[in-house]
Symmetry: C2
Subunit: 299 residues, 2 copies
């Protein structure tokens, strides 16, 4: 089944201990779409400036991503410049220019309103809710969020949590959202806020899945070739939602596999600057790594 993602498209300048990459294609919806296209058809809803080059459009379209929902507005595309610490566990923003993304009002194309799987990439809860209101009862809708919205738009976020099926957050966000330090406590507390699925990402430590019926843990894929962590979270979400969109039902077993696929697509992303590695791989590479991950964690 088809999958729709709403989020940012950007050009990133990234500094890590492995070097610097300037103006590489990035943004939450781009990473998500390039991961999810390895599994299913992806419809992208985003905004770019009139500086968005044909080569970037071609890169996405050649991988089967439907860009009908990408609005081109006069001005420049969103730009972000970040620098990672020596251990790559933290990063600082050197510069951010929202440009055309500054007043992003997502417009879901008429033909995409019935897309059954929906991912609301990081954005203000109001913007995320405006997408939900354009959709015709999606089968499965998952959202991302960040510290900024948890702090500043808590009410809007709590309303959104009542409307979606699942949320994917990192450990710090789970703690901030619930006020619980223990992640098992925090995961359970997220479910009390509305969604029937909460995934808590822990970077190199893997991820937890929480539902009312079971909790589950999966370690990360054991890569030692981390070059640039940017986009890992969105690539995880892309692999997760991409696999689920190919399944008949959203069951425990399918979610476990989906989290493993998300773990794999995230591990591929971080092994190159920007989307380089993720855009280059094919499904066979994903399957190889999926089976390696299974070996790594199998009892």
């Amino acid at each position: 089944m088809s999958l729709l993602v709403v989020g940012s498209t950007a050009f990133d300048t990234v500094e890590t201990p492995h070097g610097i990459a300037r103006d590489c294609l990035g943004g939450s919806s781009t990473y998500f779409a390039l991961a999810a296209r390895l599994f299913t058809n992806v419809r992208l809803v985003s905004v770019v400036g009139d500086d968005f080059p044909p080569a970037s459009r071609q890169l996405l379209e050649s991988r089967g991503i439907d860009l009908t929902g990408v609005e081109v507005k006069p001005g420049k595309t969103f730009r972000w410049h970040g620098r990672y610490s020596a251990d790559m566990n933290s990063r600082s923003t050197i510069d951010v220019q929202l440009n055309t993304f500054g007043d992003f009002k997502p417009k879901v194309p008429a033909a995409s309103k019935d897309t059954p799987f929906v991912f609301l990439a990081n954005g203000s809860p109001g913007t995320q809710m405006s997408v939900l209101e354009q959709m015709q009862k999606p089968k499965f809708c998952v959202a991302d969020t960040m510290d900024l919205w948890i702090e500043r738009e808590r009410d809007g976020l709590l309303k959104l949590l009542q409307r979606i099926d699942g949320i994917i957050v990192n450990d710090a966000e789970a703690r901030m959202l619930t006020g619980r330090h223990n992640l098992i406590d925090a995961g359970r507390a997220i479910l009390d806020l509305g969604p029937r699925l909460a995934i808590v990402k822990k970077g190199e430590h893997g991820s937890f899945l929480f539902s009312h019926w079971f909790h589950w843990a999966l370690p990360a894929y054991p890569t030692s070739a981390v070059v640039d962590p940017t986009g890992a979270g969105d690539s995880f979400a892309g692999g997760f939602m991409g696999h689920l969109a190919t399944c008949d039902t959203v069951s425990l077993w399918n979610m476990k596999r989906a989290i493993a696929y998300g773990t794999v697509t995230a591990s591929l992303t971080v092994e190159g600057f920007g989307v380089d590695r993720l855009a280059a791989v094919d499904r066979a590479a994903v399957e190889r790594r999926y089976h390696e991950l299974l070996q790594f964690v199998s009892f």
Copy 2:
């Protein structure tokens, strides 16, 4: 088969956000032995002062722990006073009195020199080596260490690593020992130093097993009832070595199960102050939690 542990016996005063416990029985060898006794016969080599009360001796002996190797010296037993941070991820030492442990020279009783499984709990590499020299070719010997020895007695530690089968360290120690930040890199690098097994503990994030033939990861048991983290690492080692000592061979499958048992015994320890919870549980409680852990991580 029998299992011998060499390490400290202490009385700890512990402050955590859940309260304060004064002068509770502790020490690395005590936690280890109380975890390992759930699986096999344990011989304890340690030192205490003449203040060591009959009740503490009784607690250990009543659980089948052989105290023949526990020397009683004039003076006081080792005392430690620590305080955990609000999130219990860090702790500071308020007071430490080595007392009779200050010049601990472990003496392995003649009848214990042929013990096949040996655990060298945290201690100076010189002290650990002196134990090895008293033993008659143990079948499987594993050591613990800490930042102090990695920094100050690196040469001695590197010599020890050439003589033992395995080492159990936490993530910070693995990084310090190898100079590698990435834990997969660090784990591999430890193997280059000699041992054929390296276990890297990551607290709430579980643990990694490294060998030349396979790497493996296991998440932690999902407890939200952490009261006092003291002794978690030694209890992990006790469950790990305790289970292995019951196996015919040290195989991949037996090591995986041993790490799961170590994860379970550590999770029990942290749910009470000091050794309270660990000393109270029986094997049936361990088995229940072992099966819960398997469900939590099974694919």
